[in-house]
Amino acid sequence: MSKQSQEITAAIIERVESVLVGKQDSVRLALACLYAGGHLLIEDLPGMGKTTLAQALAAAIGLSYTRVQFTSDLLPADIIGVSVYDRNKAAFDFHPGPLFNQLVLADEINRTTPKTQSALLEAMAEGQISVEGETRQLPHPFYVIATQNPLSQSGTFPLPESQLDRFLMRLRLGYPDPEAERQLLSGADPRLKLAELKRGITPAQLEAIQAAVNQVKVSGSLVDYLQRLLQFTRSSADIEYGISPRGGIAVLKSARAWALMAGRDYVIPEDIQAIFAPVCAHRLPVSGGEHGADNFIQQALNSVDII
């Protein structure tokens, strides 16, 4: 299984990379997030390729996909769906909203009101939606990739910590490296390739991979290491409160997916170190701005010994 998943992963990454040039690390992380069954938050400036990444992933995995542009006047019903009276049937007919897709791209999630944010976040947590007294199952798998713009915060509703916690990972794309950028500038618009992008994985394969993620071995000493890392975040004077046990579980799940993508059926410390920052940075309340959390995580990884 692990060999096969490695090949599939390579194929997906290659396809996504053809659209989003030079962002292999982010793509791998995003894919690991999806393998681990978690939702992804991409936070970066406009024009860095957030939407492109989401669209390319959706296409390469072959999930049904919608994009919702979040605005301040968006209502929960706009994303969940509404019941419309059908005169012919003399009954209410439910028209599912954009959430009833396997992959939802929630663009600029912090622009909408907390009410709508909660509707989305409930769906993310439960995998189901309650509308008009009726619980409706969302499709399986169900992923949300949300983006938000860290700048121009006026008129936005920043997500509170408890809701940030629902996202398994938070990624920042950053500027492409010079070579990738030259390639990007000299070639055709990569977005044109989006339409041609073929899926690299079947739903059955995806399901198998997700099952395999849970089979990846985690040894006792690795659990000890992770526990020491978590303890470090909790006992530090720079941080008011450290990573929660739920955060710890998220780290382990992501590390499993990461190991599987590397073709291993066991997790090594390097797996944890690779995904620790994306999984934990948005869960740490650090003073000292956005870089505070990243610096702190780097410090934790450097000081906690693996054995």
């Binding site: 071995k217 040894s219 000493s221 690795l222 000890d224 291993r264 059926d265 066991y266 997790v267 090594i268 410390p269 390097e270 170190q273 990884l301 450097n302 000081s303 906690v304 010994d305 693996i306 054995i307």
Partner: protein, 676 residues
């Protein structure tokens, strides 16, 4: 005014306890209004935290400062001296409690508490007060711990536990410092108590000693090398009074002796002095531990010689300390009880000095004395005649009637009731009037033998005054007229004699002395006293013995050896702490595999490629590949095996191979790439 910062509630508890304890320790020598303002400030803090009251405003604070300053000036009238200084410190301390706006304010208050608690040892260094000081330090440390601790461990009980542990851990180091630390001596002068001297004073007028009769405090303790002499031999001479102004006896002091130096120091003996004294037989050797008196004179049996460098012998053959005795002082003395003092003819000026009587006082006594002298020319017979008169007609009482201008006349021919100083004063006056040189000696008489320990306890109520009469050829003779009136006063201890009198110990209402007729309490009192004496002898008296002790311990006392000793003994003293830390450290759960991997790392470390903390095996191998390519293959395979054994849970399969491969792994410096 809203507080900028508030002490966490958990810290406040020990902070307030510290303040209350600091004030309580000094209750005795603080004016009541400072105690009162301390209580008010404490209550204010409590009310502040119950959010009932506000922080005091600027006006209130300034008025308090003004009131305290005025109170200090009015109460003491001066600012120098120990007690006004302590009171000033207290005023600031108490007012600071009303002004805690930052964490640093609370810290200042706590540091001040340490100072204030330690100040207590300037007033008393008995074992009880030392223990009290030690206990008082605990809540302050607890408050300090709480101030720096997180929410969990600043709860009162937990902070106190930490403080106790820290204090106990500090004890071994404290002992080492106590043994080794050089004593600074009087680098700075400790201001003296304003309450003045305790014990006998430097002058004597009728009624002075009744105060002492009511005081059950210990004056000094004496430890003899041999058996303790008879009670009637124990005349502890302290002061010699030769001057009399009709009411008050006082010392002539150095200015009375104008033919040379008044004091003789042990390092500069003056030959001339030894000629006037003849000592017979073996000396009596003893050590005296004197309580603080705030005056320089010391007590000893007749003719003393002391080898202590700070103790001088005076011209009237008593001991004087270089400085006033402000804390317990230990000195050792040799005394020759069998002696003759100035047996040769006194020089004219000395005779005049010892014969002087003020004019216009006691005409009747002068007349009678001159008449008796004619009837009884022999001096010894004259003395006996006067003593017989005392014995026949006089009564010993601690409550004598008051005396007017002619104190001696009224006492001798009218009231005929009094105690030692009345007798000594009238006897000396009578003798001088009769043309016999005489002087009053003040000190202590007798003492209480400790039933189990071999030492003598001399109390303040043992204070006594007697006379010395000069007879040609025999020198100065001690005559105790009190013994003629009340021989039991000399034979028995004073306390036994006056136990039933109400006045006795009236100044010490809570003294255990009052209850000495209850047997077990009496034993308890004596037990406590022997503890206190041992404390004074071994702990407080260590200053004097430190040099000898260090000499024995180190061979020679020089900075290098002392430093070495501090390091060694300090290390040994702190060993239990290190062991405790070692035992309570987080246990490493390294198994054999981990240990082998660490071996692998340390081999690479030896060639300058250490594993960084937090660096995983694979990353490490990656780095080795770059820095020592020749090892890459071996390192890779070892790392893979370790990874599989450790993380893929294939320990059985991989462990042996890893071990075997490791034994062949011998990296050398040549493997490492030198920087291009």
């Amino acid at each position: 005014m809203r507080p900028l910062w508030q002490i966490p509630r958990d810290c406040l508890f020990w902070l307030l306890v510290s303040v209350v304890i600091s004030i309580g320790l000094h209750l005795e020598h603080l004016p009541p209004w400072i105690v009162l303002s301390g209580i008010v400030a404490t209550l204010w803090q409590i009310q502040l935290y119950r959010e009932r009251w506000r922080q005091p405003g600027r006006f209130i604070k300034w008025s308090l400062v003004g009131a305290c300053a005025a109170g200090l000036v009015l109460h003491y009238g001066r600012i120098s001296g120990l007690e006004p200084m302590v009171a000033l410190l207290f005023a600031g301390y108490v007012l600071k409690l009303l002004e805690i706006h930052h964490k640093r304010d609370a810290l200042v208050l706590l540091y001040l508490s340490y100072l204030i608690i330690i100040l207590q040892s300037l007033f008393s260094s008995s074992i009880v007060s030392s223990l009290l000081v030690f206990c008082a330090l605990l809540p302050v440390t607890a408050a300090l711990v709480a101030m720096h601790a997180d929410v969990e461990s600043r709860r009162p009980a937990s902070a106190l536990r930490t403080a106790l542990t820290m204090t106990l851990q500090a004890i071994p180091l404290m002992l080492v410092m106590f043994v080794v630390m050089p004593r600074m001596g009087s680098l700075w002068a400790v201001p003296q108590h304003s309450s003045g001297t305790t014990g006998v004073s430097d002058s004597m007028s009728p009624g002075d000693m009744t105060q002492l009769g009511r005081n059950g405090d210990v004056a000094f303790r004496v430890e003899f090398d041999g058996p303790i002499p008879e009670q009637r031999e124990l005349y502890w001479r302290g002061l010699v009074f030769s001057g009399f102004d009709g009411r008050r006896w006082q010392q002539e002091g150095p200015w009375g002796y104008n033919d040379g130096q008044f004091l003789q120091w042990p390092d500069k003996p003056l030959e001339a002095w030894d000629k006037v004294v003849m000592r017979h037989g073996e000396p009596l050797t003893y050590r005296i531990t004197l309580e603080a008196t705030n005056s320089p004179w010391l007590f000893a049996l007749s003719t003393p010689v002391s080898q202590s460098p700070t103790v001088a012998l005076s011209r009237d053959f008593r001991l004087v300390n270089r400085e006033p005795v402000t804390s317990k002082l230990q000195y050792s003395v040799n005394s020759w009880l069998d002696n003759q003092l100035e047996p040769d003819l006194l020089p004219g000026w000395r005779a005049r000095l010892e014969l002087a009587i003020p004019s216009g006082f006691n005409p009747k006594t002068i007349a009678v004395a001159q008449q008796w002298r004619q009837e009884t020319p022999e001096t010894e017979a004259l003395i006996n005649r006067l003593l017989a008169l005392y014995h026949r007609e006089f009564t010993y009482t601690l409550r004598p009637p008051a005396l007017g201008k002619h104190t001696v006349d009224e006492f001798l021919w009218d009231t005929k009731k009094g105690f030692c100083e009345f007798y000594a004063s009238s006897f000396v006056f009578f003798m001088r009037a009769a043309g016999v040189p005489a002087r009053v000696v003040v000190g202590y008489q007798g003492g209480e033998r400790h039933p189990t320990e071999n030492y003598l306890l001399v109390h303040q109520y043992d204070a006594h005054a007697w006379a010395e009469v000069w007879i040609e050829g025999r020198g100065w003779l001690r005559v105790d007229p009190t013994a003629a009136v009340a021989p039991e006063r000399i034979e028995m201890s004073f306390a036994d004699l006056f136990n039933e009198q109400d006045d006795f110990l009236a100044a010490s209402p809570f003294s255990l002395e009052r209850l000495r007729h209850i047997d077990w309490l009496n034993r308890l009192r004596l037990k406590l006293d022997s503890l206190d004496y041992a404390w004074a002898k071994w702990v407080l008296g260590y200053d004097n013995r430190q040099n000898d002790f260090l000499m024995n311990l180190l061979g020679a006392v020089n900075p290098q050896r002392i430093a070495l000793f501090i390091v060694l003994a300090g290390g040994i003293a702190l060993l239990p702490v290190f062991i405790m830390l070692y035992l309570s450290r987080e246990k490493n759960t390294w198994d054999q595999l981990d240990r082998l991997f660490l071996q692998f790392c340390s081999r690479l470390e030896k060639i300058g490629l250490p594993r960084k903390p937090g660096e995983g095996p694979r990353d490490y191998a990656q780095r080795i590949r770059l820095q020592a390519p020749s090892l890459a293959e071996q390192v890779d395979s070892l790392t893979r095996r370790y990874e599989r054994a450790r993380y893929a849970e294939q320990q059985e399969a991989e462990f042996k191979q890893f071990k075997a491969a490791l034994s062949k792994f011998k990296p050398g410096r040549k493997d490492r790439l030198t920087r291009p």
